[in-house]
């Protein structure tokens, strides 16, 4: 069994010569920027989901991460375990995987609708604080069940890009990072288009004044459900791309669900009720976090372990000191 020693260890080239040849500073900056934008795209998707649910229902959904994990798990299940619907219709691998992901995203949206109908709708008219606490309960419930399905190991989502790298002008970019940004951009455009549609306008009206919206014949319950459905779908997309190379080896119990909480600074930074703010906040926080990790890492001895995780909160605090409702949040006026 003693295998022949694969000792090709002599003077390995630790960094790809293409990377070294392209120069240090600029390459490093651009690589950081790409990585930050890709992370920011995931944060932006998560933040969008948070904001849409908040705008429509005035509830901060603490179960958002658990829902993201549902989407990621379902993608792994449909794409890797079942290859559904790919095995039925054939076609190139990227198409088969994309269809599996779409099925998973739609099913996660249904999960969002069901959660809203079971736990949130009965709470209409109750104090918002109570509803927010209920979402904490939903988080534990959904996360526990999802973690059971995920199991103890890592479940790769089976995306067709794998560990593929594109070398663009000497800058190495993971293919998944490009796909993440493109998909996130498409999702954001879709959300913007939705808000211009008739139903989207109804959602905006509901967000502005529920009673007035009802008086105009808008089904507020239906809008609530829709916001949870859309929010869940966005969370699922974020969950999928948070579980791919190079950021993660796959979907993991607890870890995938908790990832969503890292998007909180993005939500607050942008403004809890601002769709545009969620997008801007997501990208800002993503880039700031990666930049801090990249450029401050030599000072980890002084700054402490995990300092890059704190930097987004520092940025958020700084912004809140100047603009208490976030960059784009609606200023709330109270007369006393």
């Amino acid at each position: 069994m003693l295998a022949s020693l694969p000792l090709l260890l002599a003077q390995t080239a630790p960094v790809d010569p293409a990377v070294q040849a392209s120069g240090g500073g600029l390459t490093r900056f651009l690589a950081m920027l790409v990585s930050g934008i890709a992370l920011g795209a995931i944060y932006a998707l998560l933040a969008l989901g948070f904001v849409i649910i908040f705008k429509a229902t005035q509830v901060v959904n603490f179960a958002h991460g658990a829902i993201a994990a549902v989407g990621a798990y379902l993608t792994a299940y449909f794409a890797v375990t079942l290859n559904f619907p790919g095995s039925l219709i054939g076609g190139p691998r990227w198409l088969q995987w994309s269809l599996s992901a779409v099925v998973a995203i739609l099913m996660t949206a249904v999960v969002g609708l069901v959660l809203e109908r079971l736990f949130i709708r009965p709470m209409i008219g109750e104090p918002l604080f109570s509803v927010a606490i209920i979402t904490l309960g939903i988080d534990i419930l959904v996360r526990t069940i999802t973690d059971d399905f995920i199991g103890t190991g890592v479940r790769p989502v089976g995306d067709p890009w794998g560990a593929g790298i594109w070398n663009i002008g000497g800058i190495r970019i993971a293919q998944t990072q490009i796909v993440t940004v493109l998909v996130a951009a498409a999702a954001m455009v879709a959300v913007a288009a939705f808000f211009r549609s008739r139903t989207g306008v109804a959602m905006r009206a509901t967000a502005f004044d529920q009673e007035a919206a009802m008086a105009q014949g808008i089904g507020v319950g239906r809008i609530f459900a829709l916001s949870w459905g859309i929010g869940a779908a966005l969370a699922a997309i974020a969950g999928i791309f948070a579980s791919v190379f190079p950021r993660s080896p796959g979907v993991m119990a607890t870890t995938t669900a908790f990832f969503a909480f890292r998007a909180f600074p993005a939500v607050i930074l942008g403004g809890l009720d601002s769709v545009g703010g969620a997008v801007v906040g997501g990208f800002v926080i993503g880039i700031v976090e990666v930049a801090a990790g990249t450029y401050l890492s030599p000072y980890a001895d002084v700054l402490g372990v995990g300092f890059q995780g704190i930097v987004p909160y520092l940025v958020m605090l700084l912004v809140l000191l100047i603009r208490p409702y976030g960059l784009f949040g609606t200023k709330e006026i109270r007369r006393v």
Binding site: A10, V15, V19, A31, T152, G153, S248, T255, E289, A292
Partner: protein
């Protein structure tokens, strides 16, 4: 009114009774069963035969009855080491079922209590409190800081544990006299691994090194050993990431430093998923150095992830025991038992680990039974007196008798994850029934480097 008074009286009597029972639980009494002097006929405490003391003549206390011996597993079934520990627990269950089917130990059936702490120190302490008056020994205790937190209680209870942690402090009687460590500790392991790296490096000068680790007794014990080795071997540490890796956090800073400093080798003391994040990030940025690390850093299931090719190309795996399926005498019994009990379960290197841990406690209990003393103090005495526990080549023989510097294990083996070999065995579909493998090929049989062999063990390498 009379009824109420009557009920109060009954309630008071019941309460007093419960109180008395509760008090009695605190100091478990040794059984009144007559005892005999331990017989000594030279019988080896291995196999499935009962020891020389008649079962009814053996002293016993907590966790042992006339018919049963209860053991506790302090597991992590939901935390960062869940994949590893789940397989270990499964292998231990199969092992003890096999022991029970063969008549048990000293005529007693083995019962297991499994508690999950999710790799949380506080929960682990709570779990120990829950089982401390119910079990005779603990053949699995996960986590270095987790086990360290219960050491005072273990000593108070005369409880022996086999830790799923290779912290170098366990052999130090001042830290863990009740902890029956298994395999070579993180510190000596790091010396072996880096000696192997250095020996196989063909450059003019020793290879450069990055060290990355979790904070705490696990990560920093490995990192300390790596630093000792690097200094002795003249390896330059271009990035010192000791304690810089915190699971669940963003790893950009660590990745960035690895890529920036561009070492020939990265030595990791982390867990597999975190290593996957870091390795993925570094490889994506073009880093092509080699990787190795403490055993728990790697899980063969990483070969199912997009990192498979990078693992195949760059990762070298250290080992305290042989991988599943390696051709050693003790393997067949394990393979047969797992195949019969769990034919459709996925093969796992951790099964070997679970088997070894159970073998330690099995041997100790048989020795205690042979000594006629299955009290916890008797089990501890037996553990500290056995000359040699043989694992049939699954790992080097182990003892806890004598001076720590004489008995600490110093050998490691090296394996290479091999994607082609893994896929030939069925990859993710490899089960015990279909004879699959974990993709780990032995490239260096057990060896003790000069550094490890000559290391004067006087206690833990890392003490916090």
């Amino acid at each position: 009114m009379r009824n109420i008074k009557h009920r109060r009286l009954i309630a008071s009597v019941i309460a007093l009774g419960l109180l008395a029972t509760a008090c009695g639980d605190d100091e478990p009494e040794v059984s009144d069963t007559p005892t005999t002097e331990p017989a000594d006929d030279g019988t080896e405490p291995t196999g499935t035969e009962t020891g020389t003391a008649a079962p009814e003549d053996i002293k016993f206390d907590v966790g042992v009855t006339e018919d049963t011996i209860t053991l506790g597993l302090l597991a992590d079934l939901t935390g960062v080491f869940a994949p590893l520990v789940t397989d270990i627990v499964s292998a231990q269950e199969v092992y003890w079922d096999k022991v029970n089917a063969a008549g048990g130990i000293a005529g007693r059936q083995i019962e297991l209590i499994v508690e999950d702490a999710g790799y949380d120190v506080t929960r682990n302490v709570e779990n120990y409190e829950k089982i401390r008056n119910e079990v005779a020994a603990i053949p699995l205790a996960v986590g270095s800081p987790h086990t360290a937190a219960i050491v005072p209680s273990l000593e108070e209870d005369d409880m022996v544990v086999v830790p799923l942690t290779w912290y170098s402090g366990w052999a130090d009687p001042e830290i863990g006299s009740n902890v029956l460590e298994q395999g070579t500790n993180y510190c000596l392991e790091a010396m072996n691994v880096l000696s192997w790296v250095n020996d196989n490096h063909e450059g003019d000068s020793p290879p450069t090194l990055a060290i990355i680790s979790f904070p705490g007794e696990y990560g920093q014990d490995g990192a300390t050993g790596a630093k000792i080795a690097a200094e002795e071997l003249g390896m330059e540490i271009v990035y010192d990431g000791e304690a810089a890796v915190v699971p669940g956090q963003d790893q950009t800073a660590v990745i960035s430093e690895i890529v920036r400093t561009s070492p020939d080798w990265v030595f990791a003391t982390t867990n597999p998923t975190t290593l996957g994040e870091i390795m993925g990030g570094a490889v994506a940025q073009g880093f092509q150095g080699n990787w190795t690390g403490s055993v728990p850093s790697y899980d063969f299931r990483m070969l199912d992830s997009p990192l498979a090719e990078a693992i195949d190309a760059y990762y070298y795996q250290s080992a305290y025991n042989v991988a599943f399926g390696t051709d050693v005498p003790g393997m067949q019994e394990l393979v047969d038992a797992m195949t019969e009990a769990e034919p459709d379960a996925r093969v796992s290197d951790a099964a070997v680990l679970g088997w070894i841990e159970a073998t330690i406690i099995d041997t100790v209990l048989r020795q205690a039974a042979e000594n006629g003393d299955l009290t916890r103090a008797g089990i501890l005495d037996a553990a500290l007196s056995i000359d040699s526990i043989d694992f049939g080549g699954l790992q080097p023989t182990q003892t806890y008798a004598g001076e720590p510097n004489d008995y600490v294990l110093r050998e490691s083996a090296m394996f290479k994850p091999n994607l082609e070999y893994y896929n030939e065995g069925g990859g993710a579909s490899a089960t015990y029934a279909n004879g699959g493998n974990t993709g780990s090929e032995l490239i260096q049989d057990f060896f003790a480097s000069d550094l490890a062999a000559n290391y004067d063990y006087q206690g833990a390498c890392f003490t916090g």
